[in-house]
């Protein structure tokens, strides 16, 4: 019995260690940023599936949705939900095109706040958002990931989002997971799967 308990404790402890976040050193940070930035410079397109989880403390279950994402430099982005319903949003030429289950609309996205949101989304996907003017950033690593934690400096963004966590798998230099944490602690977690860099993307993908 005692051995079993001991084994379990060791197992639990080792699990804890593997997910434990260790602060990165200044040297590690510099190297990490350089790698991500140089990688993101080589990105022309991103094609990926995603799964989105909305967690709210008061709910019994998280709300899950999923879809496809296509990105083309510098800032053309199509975010398409296919489950549980069809909804797509395309950011292109300072405009936002929405297709809500067949109902189409266009929004002018020239406002400052929208520009920031756009930059944030594009940055989250490509990983290139180490903007010290916009965010207070701290860097951590676990056995699986590098994690960049961004705290917005703009009051308007801050009211909506308390913190953004970007997860980079150790062997990749692009984001695999984004966690948007609200001031209440509720969060939205987006996980990217089957990511392909620099594949040819048909322009039709960015047409509403």
């Amino acid at each position: 019995m005692k051995t079993k308990l001991l084994l379990l404790t060791i197992l639990l402890c080792s699990f804890k260690i593997s997910t434990q976040e260790i602060k990165m050193s200044a040297q590690e940070i510099a190297k990490f940023k350089e790698t991500v930035e140089s990688q993101s410079k080589s990105i022309k397109t991103i094609k990926t599936d995603f799964v989105q989880i909305k967690h709210m403390d008061f709910l019994t279950k998280d709300i899950e949705s999923s879809g496809k994402l296509n990105f083309k430099v510098p800032n053309t982005l199509s975010w398409q939900y296919t489950k549980p319903y069809q909804y797509s949003i395309i950011f292109k030429n300072n405009k936002v095109y929405i297709n809500d289950q067949g109902k189409k609309s266009t929004v002018d996205a020239k406002s400052k706040i929208f520009e920031k949101i756009n930059k944030l989304i594009v940055g989250s996907v490509s990983g290139n958002m180490f903007d010290d003017k916009e965010f207070d950033i701290s860097y951590f690593k676990t056995k699986q990931h590098y994690i960049a934690k961004l705290i917005p400096k703009t009051a308007a963004i801050k009211k909506m989002i308390k913190q953004i966590d970007l997860y980079f798998p150790l062997k990749e230099n692009t984001v695999s997971e984004v966690k948007l944490i609200e001031s209440s602690g509720d969060y939205t977690k987006i996980t990217f799967k089957n990511k392909i860099l620099n594949a040819k993307i048909d322009d039709a993908v960015f047409t509403n």
Binding site: F58, D100, M160, S184, T188
Partner: protein
């Protein structure tokens, strides 16, 4: 001529007074004796469920869409959240018959008139138990008048709540329509305002 004018004015004033004093009446309905103390709206009554609906809001020609999430927290309080399709919160309220707590509201919606309208709508939508004041019959419907001049339309065959009409004593103000296969869940819900240009629709999300 002046006399005629006076008479005309008098008549029209009288007529207007008479018309405006007329309280709201359900066409073809007959008042009957009521034995039910409380009429229930069970569409958001199960505390073990998370209710999730796709939402469309039409307000003065503007379209908004998002996700509406409701949970019954205890006997009196419902927590309700409206998010964009991306998942960003727009509203986060806790509502009971007598209380209203705003946990979060998106800046652009943070106006008293908007919050009060939404509070009143969601309070009617979510309130489970409603004290009955009067009962009416009409064809295959029973209609219960409750406090705050609200009318609950129950289908006699299915026993489903089909409609809630909120009146301002004289006229229909807001109509809540429920499309349901059973008494405990509505697949589609619409809230149509008659005095302002506001329509809210909820549709079940099928996985």
């Amino acid at each position: 001529m002046q006399k005629l004018m006076m008479r005309y004015l008098l008549i029209s004033t009288f007529f207007c007074l008479f018309l405006s004093c007329k309280s709201y009446q359900i066409p073809d309905a007959v008042e009957v004796e009521n034995t039910l103390p409380v009429v229930q709206n069970q569409y958001f009554s199960d505390a073990s469920l998370d209710y999730v609906y796709k939402t469309h809001i039409e307000i003065y020609g503007n379209d908004m869409s998002g996700i509406f999430i409701v949970k019954r927290m205890n006997d009196s309080i419902h927590r309700m959240v409206l998010t964009t399709d991306f998942g960003n919160k727009l509203l986060d309220f806790e509502i009971s018959k007598n209380t209203f707590k705003v946990n979060y509201v998106f800046d652009k919606l943070d106006k008293k008139i908007i919050l009060n309208t939404l509070r009143d709508d969601f309070r009617t939508l979510l309130q489970v138990n409603n004290k009955v004041l009067k009962k009416y019959n009409r064809n295959n419907e029973t209609i219960y008048r409750t406090e705050n001049n609200q009318y609950y339309y129950i289908d006699l065959i299915t026993n489903n709540l089909n409609k809630i009409i909120k009146t301002n004593k004289r006229k229909e103000k807001v109509i809540f329509t429920f499309n349901s296969k059973k008494t405990t869940f509505a697949e589609n819900i619409s809230i149509q305002h008659h005095n302002i240009k506001l329509k809210i629709e909820f549709n079940q999300i099928i996985n």
